[in-house]
Symmetry: C2
Subunit: 218 residues, 2 copies
DNA sequence: GAGTCAAACATTGTTGACAAATGACAACTC
DNA sequence: GAGTTGTCATTTGTCAACAATGTTTGACTC
């Protein structure tokens, strides 16, 4: 059924960057693992996820699995039908995706605008770090890595605003958009767009940063 | 501790309008019940919610309670700290609330715009129904009722767009905003704003409807 | 009296067993 | 042969007990 080496990783990925807190409880580990498999395209839309199957696969009981599936359902990555189960959500329709794009722009632009109030250089340092890792990942073949670093970049932006209070609002929107990450995406172009945003922030050019961000989110 | 008559309602409220499906499973019933108590202000921000306490209160085990708390956490009504528990979330900060307002406007305006493509009269019928109930509720004293009907109104709008696919995106945003529903709110004025939106839709005046909607969401 | 440590308590996290609901399939009716 | 009903296997829903973690309390030291 599944590869036997798809075991629960005992630790997070080697270079888990700054604010990625590694979860102590099983439900979060399971959720992270499944989230990555969905976003990297290993689990395609429509694929059913059975609690018992996952339980034996991870070598734990159904309880934490259940919690994790609930998490992912609320994040929009799975859809649940009572008494039947969950399956990987479909990509959003064209109409819905268009709305999502506007919402992401609104949130991330608000965050960047808030940053320009203080221009705290700590964020720039982290973004630079992320960029160098992201460049490497885009050259490599690990799509899961690329997705994670891309998301981390935008999460860094959002976390600056109002001390991270926007993240919980932003995450489900972001995840739904990333359901179709793999397709139609030039990775290196994405990297250069990230770099352009950071460059404008370094130079203190607010309008340019916002414009680059807006053009990047499509 | 709690009133003994705060038992789990065996059925939903008497005039549960059209698309409110009554939940068969306990977790949804518990979630609905708690959601209402939070939004109506019976449970104030910061109040801790203990699994065991709720379990005996509802006369069920901790399992469904746990699921319900997870739901509400992901909806933004509760905040969870691992190994410690959940408590009712604080009202969003001024900055966050401002972002939320823009997101809600974006979503609901998209929905209304989509409706003007077809102008399906079924929606108008439901909105009229809602309005009459809403007017009564605003006159009465049951704040929970008012909140529910207000939310139902906007849910009706959102559900028309793209066959309801926006609802899951919209709900957490809406709920966070309603965390401070009770305060600073003139109920009758709110009713008249709803009525104004519906009137513009009846008359086919798209711009007026969108403008009224935008002014209503603050 | 202030600070520190450990033990007791309270609460969540996890587990395995059992109950209830669903969907598929076969037998039956008309 | 089309539709309906009944049965069965599969899957989720619920439960109660146990383990692990976090918090509080109170004695003890300085």
């Amino acid at each position: 059924m599944f590869d036997s080496e798809s075991e629960l990783p005992t630790l997070r990925s080697p270079h888990a960057l700054a604010p990625m807190k590694l979860a102590a409880n099983l439900q979060e580990q399971v959720a992270s693992h499944l989230r990555r498999r969905i976003l990297s395209g290993q689990l395609l839309p429509g694929t059913p996820l059975r609690e018992q199957t996952l339980a034996v696969e991870f070598g734990i009981s159904r309880g934490p699995i259940r919690d994790a599936l609930l998490h992912l359902t609320k994040e929009g990555l799975l859809i649940a039908k009572p008494n039947v189960g969950v399956r990987v959500a479909n990509e959003p329709s064209g109409f819905k995706r268009n709305v999502i794009v506007h919402l992401r722009r609104e949130i991330e632009a608000s965050a960047v605008t808030a940053w320009f109030e203080t221009r705290d250089p700590a964020l720039l340092k982290r973004l630079d770090d992320n960029l160098s890792h992201y460049k490497d990942a885009c050259g490599g073949s690990d799509l899961g890595q690329v997705v994670e670093l891309d998301m981390a970049f935008h999460r860094l932006l959002v976390e600056t605003a109002d001390h991270g209070s926007l993240v919980d609002l932003w995450l489900p929107i972001m995840l739904r958009m990333f359901l179709r990450y793999s397709r139609h995406r030039d990775l290196m172009e994405s990297y250069h767009e990230h770099a352009g945003i950071v460059r404008a922030m370094h130079g203190g050019r607010e309008w340019e940063a916002l414009e680059a961000l807006k053009l990047h989110i499509v």
